[in-house]
Symmetry: C2
Subunit: 199 residues, 2 copies
């Protein structure tokens, strides 16, 4: 009996998710440049032609890994704080959620975007654009909470773009510090945040 088309679809979707999950792990440690269809096939004991059929090109595989990393990031970092009231409370929850994301860590190499933007920031193309757009969306989220905090009179008026830039910068620095074994950086992030959230 030949396999039904819907079963093939289910199997294809499952295989795709297994592969993208492994691709994210590899890319978080060795970078998206370390991804290749052959390498993933070997790692997962799949046929190279099967992986090739699912993704096509290396760039498509890299973009699929970014999509998958974003999906997991939203699920692990952003979604849990969406029911926290906007403003200072949600901003603090978001920052703590991000710290957990790199401390735990969700991906073995720490922040997926920090690991990869450094590689792609000088290489124009769809991969760089996808990484940059995610980072911009994250900063926009920080800005929205800062704006809500200012509007509600929770904190003194400030340049939300500048403050979001600073918060994002120290978070990324903390990710690198943690990878290098310097755990004191997390306390520094909290102190910078306290400094920005003064009334």
């Amino acid at each position: 009996m030949s396999e039904r088309p819907d079963q093939r679809l289910v199997r294809g979707t499952r295989a795709r998710r297994t592969i993208t999950r492994h691709a994210v792990d590899v890319a978080s440690v060795e970078g998206l440049t370390g991804l290749s269809i052959g390498r993933l096939a070997t790692d997962l004991g799949l046929s190279k032609s099967g992986v090739q059929a699912l993704f096509g090109t290396k760039e498509a595989l890299q973009l699929a890994a970014i999509d998958r990393a974003r999906e997991e990031f939203v699920e692990a970092v952003v979604r849990p704080v969406l029911d926290v009231p906007p403003g200072v409370e949600r901003l603090r929850a978001l920052v703590e959620s991000w710290i957990r994301y790199v401390e735990t860590p969700l991906f073995p190499g720490g922040c997926f975007w920090v690991a990869n933007i450094a590689d792609f920031d000088s290489r124009p193309g769809p991969v760089r654009d996808a990484l940059a757009s995610d980072q911009e969306a994250w900063r926009a989220g920080l800005m929205a909470e800062l704006r809500a905090a200012v509007d509600a009179g929770e904190i003194a008026d400030l340049d939300t773009e500048l403050a979001a830039f600073q918060i994002d910068a120290v978070l990324r620095a903390a990710n690198t510090a943690l990878r290098l074994g310097d755990t004191g950086a997390v306390a520094k992030v909290r102190r910078v945040l306290d400094g920005l959230l003064r009334h």
Copy 2:
């Protein structure tokens, strides 16, 4: 007439410097992982065995590239400000010097350490140690100027370690922003510095 030993030495040193300079350029764009003895030989039209004889292993080549990048960084960024009086003036000069270093840029991929620490922060070993130690030395330099500024009463007392962490973090974020075409980050760095250097 066979070549005299001292001539061979001069040629070896010259070749080594040509190769490490190219290695730094490659590593600043594609990362130290993108370096290989074969690739550098091809790029520079040298024999692979000749490059092999000068460096031995890929790791030795990576460490030689870091040494060379550090040498050029000190020459371009640090040495020009050493005759500026310590404290606020030298700190500002150092930050402006760093901004020029990534704006110009000295290396085609921007900051050599930002480009490479992200790749190596999850891979223990001599390359990671060399990169981390350079970054620590840079932060220690920022701290020393902050301490001098506090001691001279130029600025209000502050946690110099925290302030150096913040300055370093926003500089690294500005490097990435510049690579992604966001030139506004430089003004943000200056505003963060102004905020930290209040009397």
